[in-house]
């Protein structure tokens, strides 16, 4: 069974068809990358999958359940979690506190008023376990602003993991990170639980090549092709799209 499945998604803005009959399958444990030039409709597709936008036709199925009509927050509760392109963290809090917030919310404890947060052992332990998995344990007591941008991106992923995702949508995780930190980030992503399905939206082919088992190319709202990274990169169609010339739509 696919963890996430989209069937025949169509989205129009006025006369412009931004998503044109897109069908995709993200099996359990998948490592799928979504690429495409500017204006290909990646952002819209992510919006349709996460529930920020409603498709004109088509369905989104999450773990076998039709979630097309569900609001984003409810999809999160069902296990579809995304990270954000631009860092959107609690900057004045420590890394542990950032993750604690999400863990506590997910455990339904955000209205618990009587017990000190530091004594809520299960919540603290789960937060620390997630930070351990992402290699952030040593900096857990530092505030967000005190760690490198690469590590901030990892906190972004840690928050997403706290929400217990079945499908994780990583939106350009490597954007804005200095070159020497990208390797560590990719390493960490590679070590995420095997049963987690990951959909990566990325511009950078180097990142895609290292991460993906399968690559889907989106052009002008349509799926141009799907295949292994090698197949995609040797396709002449893809090259044409990436090197300009055939820009059928503009951003």
């Amino acid at each position: 069974m696919s963890a996430l499945e989209a069937i025949g998604l169509v989205k129009r803005f006025g006369a412009l068809v931004v998503t044109d009959d897109v069908t995709l399958k993200v099996p359990v444990g998948a490592r799928l990358a979504l690429i495409g030039p500017n204006g290909a409709g990646k952002t819209t597709l992510v919006g349709l999958l996460t529930g920020l936008l409603r498709p004109d036709t088509g369905t989104v199925v999450l773990n076998g359940r039709d979630v097309t009509a569900l609001a984003p927050a409810l999809r999160v509760k069902q296990g579809l979690v995304r990270t954000f392109q631009i860092n959107n963290l609690f900057r004045g809090l420590t890394i542990l506190e950032n993750v604690f917030l999400a863990v506590s919310e997910h455990a339904g404890s955000s209205f618990a008023m009587l017990r000190p947060a530091g004594r809520c052992k299960p919540l603290v332990e789960r937060s620390e376990a997630i930070l351990d998995m992402l290699g952030l344990a040593d900096v857990r007591h530092q505030t967000i602003t005190d760690v490198s941008y690469g590590r901030q991106r990892l906190v972004e992923i840690a928050i997403a993991l706290s929400l217990d995702p079945k499908v994780l949508l990583l939106d350009e995780p490597a954007a804005g990170i200095p070159g020497n930190e990208v390797a560590r980030l990719l390493d960490t992503i590679a070590r995420l639980p095997k049963d987690l399905a990951i959909l990566l939206i990325e511009h950078d082919m180097h990142v895609v090549r290292q991460f993906a088992q399968e690559v889907m190319v989106l052009v002008a709202g349509r799926v141009l092709m799907t295949g292994s990274p090698q197949e995609v990169m040797s396709s002449s169609e893809v090259r044409t799209v990436y090197l300009g010339g055939a820009r059928t739509t503009h951003a």
């Binding site: 030039p37 082919m205 044409t240 990436y242 090197l243 300009g244 820009r247 503009h250």
Partner: protein, 236 residues
């Protein structure tokens, strides 16, 4: 004319440009190409002074740009056509040009000659223009500031092919007599190659290749590799 050495910077805490060096000579047009998200626009924003420089030098002729604020860089002779056009939405076309006007060979009249469509809409507000018209206005606005160096971020985007041809011709004539140097970011390689004498290929905030237009036209395989595709690329 414009000399950038060891530049590192980005937006807020991000690092988008890393240790990058580029020079543009007077009267020269240099194109920066590269796939999405490699930092081409950020490089221009760093030169304008709207993104945050971490280290490195930006020199403009004999002037050190680093301590200058954005408006001072503009006054020193830097023109800018940003990617999002950024015309002043509540100003008329005429006012958009008037606030940017500085004395020199480009006047409102001569700039509007490039874009006859715009000349008919002088009293329209910026927000009432179509995307293409906004793009023309943004270019005209940069020209009437009579810059010595013009930074253009995808100027062909959203323009009809005929207008692109006109624009390319006009820019060629402006550059041809040595009055204007241009640093151009362009995704349409054919436009970039048509305008520029030299091309710079960027990836992940670095310059990965720099060559004359002619040699780039001759070596499309290498360009494809450099742009992260690993095989031959078709360039015109």
């Amino acid at each position: 004319m414009l000399e950038i050495r060891g530049l590192t910077g980005g937006w807020g805490p991000t690092t988008v440009i890393e240790d990058l060096s580029v020079t543009v000579q007077a009267g020269e047009t240099v194109a920066i190409i590269g796939r999405n998200g490699v930092g081409k626009s950020t490089l221009l924003e760093l030169i304008v002074g709207r993104a945050q420089r971490r280290s490195g030098a930006i020199r403009f002729g004999a002037t050190d740009f680093v301590p200058l604020r954005t408006y001072q860089r503009s006054a020193a002779g830097l023109g800018y056509v940003p990617q999002e056009r950024e015309v002043f939405a509540s100003l008329t076309v005429k006012e958009n040009l008037a606030v940017a006007q500085r004395p020199g060979r480009w006047t409102q009249a001569s700039a509007l000659k490039l874009f006859p469509g715009l000349a008919n809409r002088l009293t329209s507000l910026g927000r009432q223009l179509s995307g293409g018209e906004q793009q023309m206005l943004s270019i005209a606005r940069a020209l009437v500031g009579n810059p010595k160096v013009l930074l253009m971020d995808e100027p062909s985007e959203g323009l009809a092919p005929v207008v692109v041809e006109q624009l390319v011709a006009a820019l060629k004539s402006a550059v041809g007599d040595g009055a204007l140097a241009v640093l151009l970011v362009e995704q349409r390689i054919e436009v970039a190659l048509d305008l520029a004498s030299r091309c710079i290929i960027m990836d992940r905030g670095h310059v990965v290749h720099e060559a004359s237009t002619a040699s780039i036209k001759a070596d499309s395989t290498r360009i494809g590799e450099l742009m992260g595709l690993g095989a031959e690329a078709r360039v015109n």
